[in-house]
Symmetry: C2
Subunit: 267 residues, 2 copies
């Protein structure tokens, strides 16, 4: 009888283990159905876990289907925190950088005339704002501009190491590097100090938002800056940024690359 | 002694359970480091699992950082299979559709002049090719055009139920629906039969690739079709597709929406 109880206990534990192992793929369950996503699967759809829901939110932000959000949904703060502080976030960003390396091997007939250019976004491209957002619910609190700027003024943002390596590789090819950021012009010295402190140097231009651009959408401001580069004869071979507003609109580059970031949206 | 062995066994099983529960977040491990992704974390980065690697591959396809791939990497076939047949894939697609519904509530000053238009891609937007790719390694085999076309001719592709609902809602608003597909013109009757069989009807135009577009990149062909719509006075309020080539390029729509699909790439 005692042995039976033990057997039952062991079986229960074993089934829990198996359940947990498969729970790892609970976002990736095999579904068999005729019409994918039709009514017959709606019960399945209804039983979507919070994890499914938040992962869908995140992926649709990355796909630029969800735009203009003010805050990360309250119920997804934990999911976004986990992603933004995960090995997966690093791996996803590193893979984007690897694709740029691949692109650079054959993309561009670089000329030694000083007119080849590459554009980098600053926040969450060169520098990480994760330490700031760690204290502000990973985007789950509405951004407070003065608190964020105060943090930027402290010049304590860490480098995104994989982008730093790419920055140096591009610079070593003789390509001119322009940093185009939506940070305000008043943050110039703090930004320069921060960038230099963590290892960036040798850029050609750091474009920050002057008063004339304060009331313009960031995407348009960044387009205006690119227009100036093009008018000055630069060939923009690429842009890398974590926001769609950093890479969309005309004039554009030969190619653009998007880093993951689901903590905030700049339009 | 026997009790001790049982206790040990139970403890081992319990620890396995706990391990498995946390393995669910092994892609989302908390990492603490000063420079995000720098050398100090490279050991972490080196220990990235295959799952991390394949998830990064997938996410970078969705971000349009990885382009022009011929096949899903061999080692990631299982990961892509799991995603494309998962509740997460359905949830991600449904969320994209929800965002379109939200957009439609206030996007467009629709006029009753028959010139409001919406564009749908066909494969993996209205119809699912998953049953075909299920037999072809979920994109892990190089696409064989004649085998794929033979399957399309069978007119057995299931509907993507969430898109079918949206299709009807848009139609009921009096918006003209155009289907713009890279399928060849020779597949017209099979495509029409398939669409009708699974519930689609009432579209205004079904654009397939005629001989004149055979040697043109799909993105350019789709732009040419949109140019014709615009020249005919249509206001294109939106496009939904699973490929970047379905939604990028000029003229564009007021907004575009991207469904997930990492089985193949059409440029």
């Amino acid at each position: 009888m005692a042995t039976d109880s033990v057997t039952v206990l062991i079986l229960v534990l074993l089934s829990l283990c198996i359940g947990s192992v498969f729970a790892d793929w609970n976002i990736l369950n095999q579904i068999n159905r005729k019409n994918v996503g039709d009514e017959s699967s709606s019960s399945n759809s209804n039983s979507n876990s919070l994890k499914n829901y938040c992962e869908s939110w995140r992926i649709n932000v990355e796909l630029n289907n969800i735009r203009e959000f003010d805050v990360v949904p309250r119920e997804c703060i934990d999911h976004i925190k986990k992603y933004m502080t995960s090995a997966q976030y690093i791996a996803d960003s590193e893979r984007a950088i690897e694709e740029i390396r691949l692109y650079l091997t054959s993309c561009c007939s670089l000329q030694a005339d000083g007119k080849d250019a590459w554009i980098f976004d600053v926040d969450d491209t060169l520098l990480s704002t994760i330490p700031y957002y760690k204290k502000h619910a990973f985007g789950g609190e509405k951004v407070n501009a003065s608190s964020l700027e105060a943090w930027m003024k402290s010049s304590k943002a860490p480098a995104l190491g994989h982008t730093l390596n790419l920055f140096n590789e591009i610079k070593n090819k003789g390509v001119k590097i322009f940093l185009v950021s939506s940070r305000r012009e008043t943050l110039r010295s703090n930004t320069v100090n921060n960038l230099i402190d963590v290892g960036y140097h040798g850029w050609t231009g750091l474009q920050l938002r002057g008063l004339e651009y304060e009331h313009m959408k960031v995407q348009r401001y960044k387009c205006e800056e690119r227009k100036r580069f093009v008018n000055n004869g630069y060939r923009i071979w690429g842009i890398i940024g974590d926001q769609w507003s950093s890479i969309e609109g005309l004039p554009t580059a030969k190619r653009t690359f998007k880093l993951p970031n689901s903590m905030y949206y700049i339009s």
